[in-house]
C-alpha cells in the first residue's frame, strides 16, 4: 500500500529557468577519463622522484 506522505517526500521542486545558470556552474563534470589522466600523471611524478 502506497503511503501518500512518504511518496510526497520523493517529489522535489523543479528548477526554474532563472536557476539554470547556477545549476550549470554547480554541475560536477569530472569523468573517469579525468581521473585516469590524473592517476597517470601522479604515477609518472612519483617515478621521476
Amino acid at each position: 500500500m502506497i503511503n501518500f506522505e512518504e511518496e510526497l517526500k520523493k517529489f522535489h521542486p523543479s528548477l526554474e529557468v532563472e536557476d539554470a545558470e547556477e545549476a550549470i556552474y554547480n554541475q560536477d563534470l569530472t569523468d573517469a577519463a579525468d581521473l585516469l589522466v590524473k592517476m597517470i600523471k601522479e604515477t609518472e611524478e612519483k617515478e621521476k622522484k
Binding site: 500500500m1 502506497i2 501518500f4 510526497l8 523543479s14 526554474e16 550549470i24 569523468d31 577519463a33 585516469l36
Partner: protein, 472 residues
C-alpha cells in the same frame, strides 16, 4: 579519438604514435562511454526514457566530452518535461563544442520563442506551487494547479505522477490510472510510474474475497471519450411490463406534482400576494397619515392667518372712513386746513382731540407726527390759555369737576403753563383727590424749581402729605 596527453589523433595501437603515452586504458574508458551512449540511444528509441537517462548519464561519467550523449540526454530530459535540465545539458554541450553542434539548434529553438520559454517557466512555477499545496494539505488546489501545468506541458512526467498520487490518495483510482497511462505513453519504464500503476491495478482488480464481486468485464463496455471513461452496461433486459409500469409511474408522478402544487406552491403564492397587498395597504396608510397631519398643520396655519387678518381688518376699519380713505389722516388734514383758512383754534383743537382719541399718535408715521405736533405747537398756548381761564372760573365758583377737566386740557396743550398746573393741583385738593393733587404739585416742583409757584406747590403738598399720614 585524440590523445589525452598531446591531443594527436590516436591509431589502433595501445599507445600514442606522437608522444608515446599509454592510451589503452583511456581507449577502454572512451569505449565504455560509447557503449552506454548506444544503450541510451536504444532505450530512448523504445521510449524507455528513464533507462535512457541512466545510460546516458553513465556514458557522461566515463567521458564528459561525449557530445552526442550529452545532447541526447538533453533531448530525453526535454521529452520528460524537464526543460531546465535539458537546457543545462545543451548549454554545457555547446560550451564544449561551439561549432557544428546540434545543441545550438535546440537552444535557439527555445530562446527564439520568448512566449514559449515564458510558458515553460510558468509551468515549472505552477508545479512547484502545487507541491507546496500538497505539503500544506490543500490537495484540491494542488490538483487544479497540476491540471493547469499539464494543459501547458502535457509531457511533464513528474506532474502526471504527482496528480496520479493525489487521485490515489482521494481513491479516484480510475483517474489515477488514466494519468499513469499517460506517463507510460511518454516513459515506458519509469519505476515510480510502474509502482503506482501496480497499486492502482490492485485496487481496480476484482476482489476475490468480496461477497459482491465486481461486474465482469463482459458485462460492460468501457471506452474513453475525451477525459471521461464511459461504462455502458450490456445484457440489461427490459421487463415485459415495463410499459404499463412506466405509465403508472407517470400518472403517480403527475398526481404528486399536482398535490405539491396545491398544498405547497398555491398557498405560498397566495401568501405572497397577501403580503404584497398588506405591504401596499400599509404604505398607503402611512402616506395618508402624513398627508392628514400636513392638512391639519395647514388648517391651523390658515386659522391663525384668518384671525390675524380679521384683527388687521378691524384695525383698518378704525382708520378707514366711509369713503375708504384713512380717517385719521383725513382728520389731520382737515384740522390743518381749518387752521390755515380760518385760524379757528377751537375747531382745530376739536379735530386734534378727535385724532388723539382714535389713534396713538406716537405709533403713526413720522410725517403724520410732525404735522400733528406742528399744529399742536401753533394752537397749544392759545388753547391752554382758553382752557385755563374757563377752568379757573369754574374753580372760583367751586365747580371743581369742570375746573379739573379744563385745567387738565390746559396743561396738555401747554405744559409750561404753571398757573394751570397750580390751579389743577388746587382743584384736586379741594375735591379731596390728594393723590392727583400731589402728582400735580410734584410736576410743578419738577418743571419750575426755585419759583414762587413751586414753593406754593411744595407747601400745599406738605400739608396734604401730613393730613394723609394723620388720617392713616
Amino acid at each position: 579519438m585524440f590523445c589525452y596527453n598531446c591531443g594527436c589523433q590516436l591509431s589502433e595501437h595501445g599507445f600514442c604514435t606522437a608522444c608515446g603515452a599509454d592510451v589503452s586504458l583511456y581507449k577502454k574508458i572512451i569505449a565504455m562511454s560509447n557503449r552506454f551512449y548506444n544503450d541510451g540511444l536504444e532505450k530512448a528509441g523504445v521510449r524507455d526514457l528513464t533507462g535512457a537517462i541512466n545510460s546516458l548519464r553513465q556514458s557522461l561519467k566515463f567521458n564528459k566530452n561525449n557530445i552526442e550523449a550529452r545532447n541526447l540526454l538533453g533531448l530525453v530530459y526535454f521529452e520528460t518535461g524537464e526543460v531546465v535540465a535539458a537546457l543545462s545539458e545543451w548549454v554545457i554541450s555547446k560550451n564544449m563544442r561551439p561549432e557544428k553542434n546540434i545543441a545550438d539548434d535546440y537552444i535557439n529553438m527555445l530562446q527564439s520563442n520568448a512566449s514559449r520559454l515564458d510558458a515553460i517557466n510558468q509551468t515549472i512555477k505552477k508545479y512547484n506551487q502545487a507541491l507546496v499545496y500538497c505539503n500544506q494539505d490543500s490537495k484540491d488546489l494542488a490538483m487544479i494547479q497540476l491540471k493547469k501545468v499539464l494543459s501547458l506541458n502535457p509531457k511533464f512526467i513528474r506532474a502526471h505522477q504527482l496528480l496520479a498520487l493525489l487521485y490515489m490518495d482521494s481513491e479516484q483510482w480510475d483517474k489515477a490510472e488514466r494519468e499513469l497511462r499517460k506517463c507510460m505513453d511518454i516513459d515506458r519504464n519509469n519505476t515510480q510510474t510502474l509502482r503506482y500503476l501496480k497499486e492502482v491495478e490492485m485496487q481496480l482488480a476484482p476482489d476475490e474475497n468480496s461477497k459482491q464481486p465486481r461486474r465482469k468485464k463482459d458485462d460492460a463496455v468501457r471506452y474513453q471519450s475525451d477525459n471521461e471513461i464511459i461504462i455502458q452496461p450490456l445484457n440489461v433486459k427490459e421487463q415485459k411490463s415495463a410499459g404499463i409500469s412506466s405509465l403508472i409511474n407517470i400518472a403517480i408522478g403527475l398526481v404528486i406534482g399536482l398535490a405539491v402544487m396545491y398544498f405547497l406552491v398555491v398557498p405560498a403564492a397566495v401568501s405572497n400576494a397577501n403580503n404584497e397587498a398588506q405591504k401596499t395597504i400599509t404604505d398607503i396608510g402611512n402616506q395618508l397619515d402624513t398627508k392628514t397631519s400636513r392638512i391639519q398643520e395647514l388648517e391651523t396655519q390658515m386659522e391663525a392667518l384668518q384671525t390675524e387678518n380679521d384683527t388687521l381688518n378691524q384695525e383698518l376699519q378704525g382708520y378707514v372712513g366711509t369713503d375708504g380713505t384713512l380717517q385719521t389722516i383725513d382728520s389731520l388734514l382737515a384740522a390743518a386746513t381749518t387752521y390755515l383758512e380760518t385760524q379757528d383754534i377751537t375747531q382745530t383743537a376739536a379735530n386734534l382731540e378727535s385724532i388723539s382719541s382714535s389713534v396713538d399718535v406716537d405709533n403713526t408715521s413720522e410725517a403724520f407726527q410732525k404735522l400733528y405736533k406742528t399744529l399742536l405747537g401753533l394752537i397749544g398756548p392759545q388753547l391752554s390759555t382758553q382752557y385755563y381761564e374757563t377752568g379757573y372760573n369754574a374753580y372760583r365758583s367751586e365747580d371743581y369737576a369742570t375746573a379739573i377737566e379744563n385745567l387738565s386740557k390746559a396743561v396738555i396743550y401747554d405744559e409750561t403753563n404753571k398757573d394751570a398746573w397750580l390751579s389743577l393741583g388746587n382743584a384736586y385738593r379741594k375735591s379731596d383727590d390728594a393723590q392727583n393733587a400731589i402728582a400735580a404739585y410734584d410736576k410743578i416742583i419738577e418743571l419750575f424749581p426755585d419759583t414762587e409757584t413751586a414753593r406754593s406747590a411744595q407747601r400745599y403738598r406738605s400739608q396734604l402729605a401730613e393730613n394723609t399720614n394723620t388720617a392713616q
